[in-house]
């Protein structure tokens, strides 16, 4: 049968959260990725260092230099001057990051060239005067040379023979083929060695369109060309460096500026540069890890000024020490805030371009890389699934507190671990997704629990005023006014004033005027002006006093007592016994104090009622059984067994007349605060064991041995009561059923419904002994089912844990009598009694010793 589900199961909620995050992870959903980037930047700062290698120096075109040398752009001769100085100082590689795509425009130079040309033409036309023009042409030629900065620059390049110049590409996929062929000086820069593990990977390299290169004159004299294209992330932060790009998508790979700097520095030949499709570039002996698009993650070594700046003006003025540049990679670039390109990086908001170039070169030189290991994606996926399972399955079961601790621990573990491997090894693991999984998942499950349980939070405590009011109303509805009043009294008067008033009226209807009055007075104590109670109270108080005692006595003794009391004159009898008064109510029926007029002896008369739906034939059979049992119990004549005198039947009631006992049952001595002294308890149990032995020999089993069925008389004698009767009355209960008391004393075979013999009594006696010594039962349970299970299957706890002073011999008696298998117990009560007595003797000896 399907059950309706009113709530979303926790695992479903957790599953949905997991799936959503997995989806976002799979498609690298930008909003989450951007947060991951922030985490990346934080971690990137951990990898900065104070010490960079000394292979790189930056010659900066800075504010100071511009101040001194004039407005930018400078005549290119300045560049040439700088290069000459640096080259003389012995630099290994010079990276000039300024692109000169067009020849320098100089009006003066143009004029001189035009002038020269026209004079040349004139000279040709007037051959006779040619020698006259020669010096002019010479002077013009010199001036031209002086002004031809491009040539000057190209000469410097040629002289230094180790300069790298930049190119720029138009990024993006372009259909079609390039316009014209590239000149050889450019072509020689393309990477030739390409490994091709899988064709598919080729599609991932960034494609470009047209190239913007320096002028031909300069290109011819460069050592190498490298591109200066940047690939910032969507948030504008430059974390990746494009090591190479694919020119027009023709699988022609052009390297980056920084790559060329390092390749030149290391004197690499073209064959020393290998490209692995799918990721990875080999530069000489160094393997640079990249992704499939040949992007290398830049490990920023520091913020601005990580490398020393040498203002170019100082360089040109020979103000810089030569060993500043000796053997180094010197990068010339714009650091001027307004002029140069400022790049946003994880470690600094603005970094001048030369520094970024230097950073990349440094990374390659010292192999300080940040990578995303091939197993990173798998690890992240595994973590996601693991955490997803955690929040869906474990979290709901553990509850808010415990799972918070575990989730926090996992979080710390992941974050610390991720940060550590980043800082120490440069591994970039995406930490955001697992973190989110834990955080979101936890929040989702816990808030769901909170919201749903909130609905049921409004639970009434059993003793709350609300409950008392409800019970009061119930009792009132059932006509149990006293109980109703008791409940209403526990509520604030204001809450139940109406109900109290109605209760007062009910009392009045029952002619219980003084009670009604006290109800109104209770209201009056807080609300004296409520309705008409002010006038009612005095009237009722007056009425209450004139009540005749007869009706007032209605509650005491009279109608509640017994069906036997008919009138005031007749003396009630049962059989030949006079009924004096009621002694109490037992489980089976009322017990009366009676008198045997023949011998003038006071007796206890136990009555038994078969008031249930008993068939006349069955009733007869039951009665026969009852008398038989009573008779056999009557045969028992033992000082420690209650003596049965007589049984009979009168007015459809069966009765047993027995010895009147003046004392209390042993239940009173079963709490820790009120235990027998140990010796006394053992003594009593030994006595009972003897009595049981006697009964068993008469083939009578008690079946209900427990403290309540053992009496300690005022005279100090111990008597066992209720022999055999227990069985009869059980079977006399038919369809209405009887509520079972706790079977704490029942033996395993009794609980299983099997036939029982004397040894079952001895088990119950063992339980009783335990309880008298320890103040606790050997078998307890929250429900009857658990209790039954324990009695049948689990060993009892040692009584020593409740009472350390129990001697070993007694413990052994207890253990033996509580054996689950009857064959392992005492077979006869006599044996048990003997062992107990021996233990007693031992106790005496130790006491006196």
């Amino acid at each position: 049968m399907k059950k309706p589900r009113a709530v979303i199961p926790d695992w479903l909620l957790g599953g949905v959260v997991t799936l959503l995050l997995l989806l976002a992870f799979a498609v690298s959903w930008w909003p989450l990725e951007s947060i991951e980037m922030k985490l990346y930047d934080l971690r990137a700062r951990l990898r900065t260092t104070d010490q960079v290698g000394n292979e790189i120096a930056i010659v900066a075109i800075d504010e100071e230099s511009v101040d001194r040398l004039g407005r930018w752009p400078w005549p290119r001769v300045r560049m040439a001057e700088a290069i000459d100085v640096i080259s003389e100082a012995g630099a290994k590689v010079i990276g000039l990051t300024i692109l000169f795509p067009d020849p320098e425009r100089s009006q003066g130079l143009d004029e001189i060239r035009a002038l020269k040309k026209s004079i040349e033409e004139t000279a040709q036309q007037n051959v006779k005067f040619a020698p006259l023009y020669a010096p002019i042409l010479q002077a013009l030629g010199d001036a031209e040379k002086k002004l031809d900065n491009d040539s000057k620059l190209s000469d410097s390049l040629a002289l230094s023979a180790n300069v790298v110049l930049p190119v720029y590409f138009e990024i993006g996929r372009v259909e079609g083929r390039p316009e014209g062929e590239l000149p050889p000086e450019i072509l020689r820069n393309f990477i030739t060695q390409v490994d091709n593990p899988s064709d598919k990977a080729a599609a991932q390299v960034l494609e470009t369109g047209a190239m913007k290169a320096p002028i031909e004159k300069l290109c011819k004299e460069t050592k190498a060309l490298g591109h200066l294209n940047l690939a910032p992330e969507r948030d504008g932060v430059y974390r990746n460096h494009l090591l190479l790009v694919d020119y027009y998508g023709q699988s022609q790979y052009f390297p980056s500026f920084s790559t060329q700097l390092v390749a030149t520095y290391w004197n690499l030949q073209p064959k020393d540069v290998r490209v692995r499709l799918g990721g990875g570039v080999q530069l000489g002996k160094v393997e640079i890890p990249t992704d499939a698009a040949f992007r290398m993650m830049v490990n920023y070594e520091g913020g601005m000024g990580t490398w020393r700046y040498y203002p170019i003006a100082d360089v040109i003025d020979h103000k810089v020490q030569p060993d500043a540049f000796k053997g180094k990679i010197v990068i010339i670039g714009l650091t001027h805030l307004g002029l140069g390109e400022q790049i946003t990086t994880p470690v600094a908001p603005r970094l001048p371009q030369p520094e970024v170039i230097a950073n990349v070169a440094e990374n390659i030189l010292h192999q300080r890389f940040i990578t995303r290991p091939p197993w990173a994606g798998k690890l992240e996926l595994a973590l996601l699934i693991l955490f997803g399972a955690f929040i869906s399955l474990a979290l709901p079961r553990l509850g808010a507190g415990k799972s918070a601790i575990i989730a926090a621990a996992l979080l710390v573990l992941v974050l610390a671990g991720g940060t550590y491997v980043f800082a120490a090894k440069g591994y970039w693991i995406k930490l955001l997704y697992p973190t989110l999984m834990l955080g979101l998942g936890y929040a989702a499950i816990i808030s769901k629990k909170y919201l749903i349980t909130e609905k049921h939070k409004e639970v009434l405590e059993v003793e709350s005023a609300e409950t008392n009011k409800m019970l009061g109303l119930s009792f009132q509805g059932q006509g149990m006014l006293d109980l109703a009043l008791e409940k209403f009294r526990r509520c604030p008067v204001d809450d139940v004033k109406e109900e109290l008033y109605n209760l007062g009226l009910d009392f009045e209807r029952k002619r219980q005027f003084s009670k009604a009055a006290s109800v109104y007075q209770h209201i009056a104590s807080k609300l004296p002006k409520f309705k008409d109670i002010a006038t009612r109270i005095p009237k009722l108080q007056a009425a209450g006093e004139t009540i005749i005692s007869g009706t007032a006595g209605l509650k005491r003794g009279g109608a509640e007592a017994t069906v036997l009391v008919e009138g005031a004159d007749l003396k009630p009898t049962l059989g030949r016994y006079e009924i004096i008064k009621e002694l109490g109510k037992g489980a089976m029926g009322t017990v009366f104090l009676g008198k045997d007029p023949k011998i003038n002896r006071m007796v206890a008369i136990k009555t038994l009622r078969f008031e249930d739906d008993v068939d006349p034939e069955d009733l007869k059979a039951l009665k026969e059984r009852f008398f038989r049992e009573a008779e056999s119990a009557g045969r028992l004549s033992h000082p420690n067994i209650v003596t049965i005198f007589d049984t009979g039947e009168d007015q459809d009631m069966c009765y047993i007349a027995m010895e009147l006992l003046d004392g209390r049952d042993l239940k009173d001595w079963t709490t820790k605060e009120n235990l027998f002294p140990m010796k006394t308890a053992v003594e009593h149990m030994a006595t009972v064991a003897e009595a049981l032995d006697y009964a068993h020999q008469q083939a009578i089993v008690h079946r209900d041995i427990k403290p309540a069925n053992i009496m300690l008389l005022k005279s100090g004698v111990v008597k066992v009561t209720d022999f055999g009767i227990a069985r009869i009355t059980t079977s006399s209960r038919t369809a209405t059923g009887t509520v079972m008391g706790t079977p704490s004393y029942m033996s395993p075979e009794q609980l299983a419904g099997k036939k029982v013999d004397g040894r079952s009594d001895l088990f119950s006696l063992g339980v009783t002994l335990y309880e008298l010594l320890a103040g606790e039962k050997p078998f307890t349970g929250e429900s009857i089912a658990t209790l039954m299970f324990k009695i049948a299957n689990e060993r009892h706890e040692s009584p020593r844990q409740y009472n350390a002073g129990i001697p070993e011999e007694v413990i052994q008696v207890i253990d033996k009598s509580l054996a689950k298998n009857p064959d392992e117990r005492y077979q006869k009560g006599k044996e048990m009694a003997a062992d107990l007595k021996a233990a007693l003797a031992q106790m005496e000896r130790s006491a006196t010793a």
């Binding site: 639970v459 009434l460 409800m470 019970l471 009792f475 209405t736 509520v739 419904g753």
Partner: protein, 235 residues
């Protein structure tokens, strides 16, 4: 859907005492209690509140007057509580079980309330000591039937000719059967067949067994006390 409350119907049917028949939209109700051939009086009681879809059956025990009183309290207090709950409050008496709906929880609270009333009354009046009652109650809010019980009275669902017992008796012999100590056959003939291990009025608090089931048009639901189940076998 038909809902029938049957109590201690015996094979031959003399002295039918109470007969109840009613209709609510989509609901036919019939109830009958029968003294039976043996008893002199009847400690069974029932009540039906069609507008709430509430059905209560209780079997009292502990002596004639006491038994009748216990079952009377039960069948009166449970409807009272359910009416109050429908009117006022979200609060449930006793511990709420989040697996079940608020309505089912209110039914449990109603049963706990009557348990409390019976128990206190028994403590208070010597003649009522030992009185108790079983109860089986159901609330129908289409298409869900909320079922609650304490004791050995039962609810059956009859669907497409198949009879299914929805409740588990809280009797000693049933516990033995559940534990595999005896078979159902032996249980029915056991000496201890009448001993109940959970009842209203036995202790200050009581644990109520709850269930929710879907019901469909054409279903028969039968509430009955043990008199019937003894007389009429499951087949």
């Amino acid at each position: 859907m038909r809902l029938r409350i049957l109590q201690s119907e015996s094979a031959a049917a003399p002295q039918t005492r109470d007969v109840f028949a009613a209709s609510a939209p989509g609901l036919d109700v019939a109830a009958r209690t029968d003294v039976g051939r043996r008893r002199a009086n009847n400690e069974d009681n029932f009540s039906v509140v069609p507008e709430l879809g509430l059905f209560v059956l209780s079997d009292g025990m502990g002596g004639e007057a006491a038994g009748e009183l216990a079952s009377k309290i039960t069948v009166e207090e449970i409807p009272r509580h359910m009416k109050e709950a429908a009117r006022d409050g979200p609060a449930v008496m006793g511990e709420a079980n989040p697996q079940f709906s608020t309505l089912t929880n209110h039914l449990a609270g109603a049963i706990r309330r009557s348990n409390r009333v019976i128990w206190e009354a028994a403590q208070h009046h010597a003649s009522q000591r030992g009185m108790g009652a079983t109860v089986v109650a159901a609330v129908l809010r289409q298409p869900v039937l909320s079922v609650a019980h304490v004791g050995d009275s039962r609810i059956y669902l009859l669907r497409n000719g198949e009879l299914q017992q929805l409740t588990q008796d809280h009797s000693l012999v049933m516990e033995q059967v559940r534990r595999g100590l005896i078979t159902r056959e032996e249980a029915e003939h056991s000496d201890m067949a009448n001993i109940i291990i959970r009842a209203l009025g036995a202790e200050e608090t009581v644990k109520v067994d709850l269930d929710e089931v879907y019901v469909m048009p054409g279903d028969h639901v039968v509430l009955c006390s043990d008199g019937l189940t003894k007389m009429v076998p499951d087949g």
